[in-house]
């Protein structure tokens, strides 16, 4: 076997480079660990009321109280569960309607005006998503009072961002050929959108709406925490009356609803695609 022709001298200079790279990686990791240690110290070590926890038994005992299920609460859960489901459904539908103009404004190829409506549409998309659903609910509770309505409005506002963003992107990626054909037969702007664009984006939009609806079931379950109806309100009452078994019952109802939504949306999505 012929020996490999290696010239150690030629690569000598590169050893320094390899070493330099190792040092750099070590420095980066050191900074990351230092930062995490600082966070850990600031939050857990300094900010926890260690005297009140009172050892492992205390923690486990507190958690254990949640396991004593309160089945007497069952009849009171039916109506809020249904209400939570309804809030999610109506909120999603309303969100779709709000999304229509936002997607239209925010899609670069169909926007009525690039300098005003386009940025306005994009801003509304970001605004909808950057405000948490609980904050939206707080705003609407103070605007329209307690009940399911503020929950519906909050869910609708929170849904606009995602639905309109995906819709706008779908509009930007359409095939222009059918659009050209509808213009050529003398169609107006509405007909171009309805016949040329809508059939193309419809599967994507519908799948997105189903996905958003699935998420909205989760969201509507917590709306009641700020007084906007549904299971969240029952949760809040049980927690306030220190009925931990009841709290668990509400959580189980939420879980059931979410599993139901998951299963339904799975089949709906299959039917669409």
């Amino acid at each position: 076997m012929a020996s490999l022709d290696i010239d150690i001298g030629r690569v000598e200079g590169q050893r320094a480079l390899v070493r330099q790279r190792h040092l750099k990686m070590a420095a980066i990791w050191a900074v990351v660990f230092a930062f995490l240690a600082w966070c850990f110290h600031g939050t857990i070590i300094q900010d926890t009321d260690w005297s009140r926890i009172g050892g492992a038994n205390g923690v486990l005992g507190s958690l254990g109280r949640f396991l004593a299920l309160d089945f007497s609460l069952l009849p009171e859960l039916v109506i809020p569960t249904i209400e939570t489901f309804m809030v999610a459904c109506v909120g999603t539908v309303l969100g779709c309607f709000f999304s229509l103009p936002v997607a239209w404004f925010g899609a670069a190829n169909v926007t009525p005006n690039r300098f005003f409506f386009y940025p306005a549409g994009r801003f509304l998309m970001v605004l909808s998503r950057s405000v948490h659903e609980i904050i939206w609910a707080l705003i609407f509770v103070s605007a329209v009072g307690l009940g399911a309505l503020p929950g519906i409005l909050a869910i609708a506002m929170r849904s606009v961002g995602f639905i309109s963003k995906i819709t706008a992107e779908a509009i930007e990626n359409i095939d222009k050929k059918p659009v050209e054909a509808i213009r050529a037969v003398g169609g107006n702007d509405f007909q171009v959108m309805y016949y040329g664009i809508l059939p193309q984006i419809y599967p994507v939009v519908l799948a997105t709406v189903i996905f958003e609806w699935d998420i909205n079931i989760r969201r509507s379950a917590v709306m009641g925490l700020v007084g906007a109806g549904g299971l969240g309100l029952t949760f809040f009452r049980q927690m306030n009356s220190f009925n931990y078994g009841g709290v668990t019952m509400v959580i189980l109802a939420i879980l059931l609803l979410i599993v139901l939504g998951e299963v339904l949306s799975h089949f709906l999505r299959k039917a669409v695609i």
């Binding site: 050929k177 059918p178 050209e180 054909a181 509808i182 213009r183 050529a184 037969v185 003398g186 169609g187 107006n188 509405f190 007909q191 309805y194 016949y195 040329g196 059939p199 193309q200 419809y202 599967p203």
Partner: protein
């Protein structure tokens, strides 16, 4: 009678780009089935799209049915467009809609927004669509989705859609280039037949010179935005083709 008069038509898509059409003039008579031939990039598609203003010319004039096309706006432009049937190279159908709805969409220029919204076309339009689908040989495919059809069948849907408009002029943008040679001749034959039955003049982009000679009575040759030939099909010589295609024709 002259249906279409194009004079000194020029277009450039942006100020810093070269002109696509460099002063094109020609007439189309009401009995014409006219071919526009020329190599890729000669400006054939752009020229045909200027006629119904899918593309905006930079200068020149277009007179169609006695109307100044370039002066039209909004509703008037849409009314002009509905008199001009267009058939496309890649069919430009709405894939997710049925064959029937695609054909009916040819009627949109005559249909109000409310009827469009519910796809509630008048009975007369539906009867006409069914009759046209029968004429182009698609009666068995009325309720299929457009994307379930073969290329030749799709172009037949495109033909039916254009005829739904009851057009007074047909614009054909390479109607057979996406089809195989046999289907190409069938489709071209069908268009030719229907055009003469309905006495509708046609302007047809085509790069298959042989097919152009077989089906058209007049030919315009474009090369790099200039008109290099304009005459009866019989007067087209190999010398003209060499000039149009800037190469030896074998």
């Amino acid at each position: 009678m002259t249906v279409l008069k194009v004079r000194d038509l020029r277009i450039r898509y942006a100020d810093n780009q070269p002109e696509i059409l460099k002063g094109i003039s020609f007439d189309v008579e009401d009995s014409d089935f006219m071919a526009i031939i020329g190599p890729s990039g000669a400006g054939k598609s752009t020229l045909i799209r200027c006629i119904n203003r899918l593309v905006e010319p930079t200068s020149g004039s277009i007179e169609l049915f006695g109307q100044d096309v370039l002066a039209l706006k909004g509703t008037a432009l849409r009314q002009l467009r509905r008199n001009v049937g267009m058939i496309f190279q890649e069919f430009n159908l709405i894939n997710r809609m049925s064959v029937m709805d695609n054909v009916l969409s040819g009627r949109l220029g005559y249909t109000g927004n409310l009827r469009s919204l519910f796809r509630a076309f008048p009975q007369s339009d539906i009867s006409r669509a069914l009759a046209l689908l029968d004429r182009v040989g698609l009666s068995d495919h009325v309720n299929k989705r457009a994307d379930e059809l073969s290329g030749g069948q799709r172009q037949r849907v495109g033909i039916a859609r254009a005829l739904m408009q009851q057009p007074k002029l047909l614009l054909l943008d390479e109607p057979t280039s996406a089809l195989d040679p046999k289907i190409s001749r069938e489709v071209m034959g069908l268009i030719r037949e229907i055009a003469s039955e309905l006495r509708v003049p046609a302007l047809c982009n085509i790069h298959d010179v042989q097919l152009a000679k077989e089906s058209c009575n007049r030919i315009i040759g474009l090369q790099d935005g200039y008109k290099k030939f304009d005459g009866e099909t019989g007067t087209l010589r190999d010398r003209d083709l060499e000039e149009i295609y800037a190469m030896e024709v074998l």
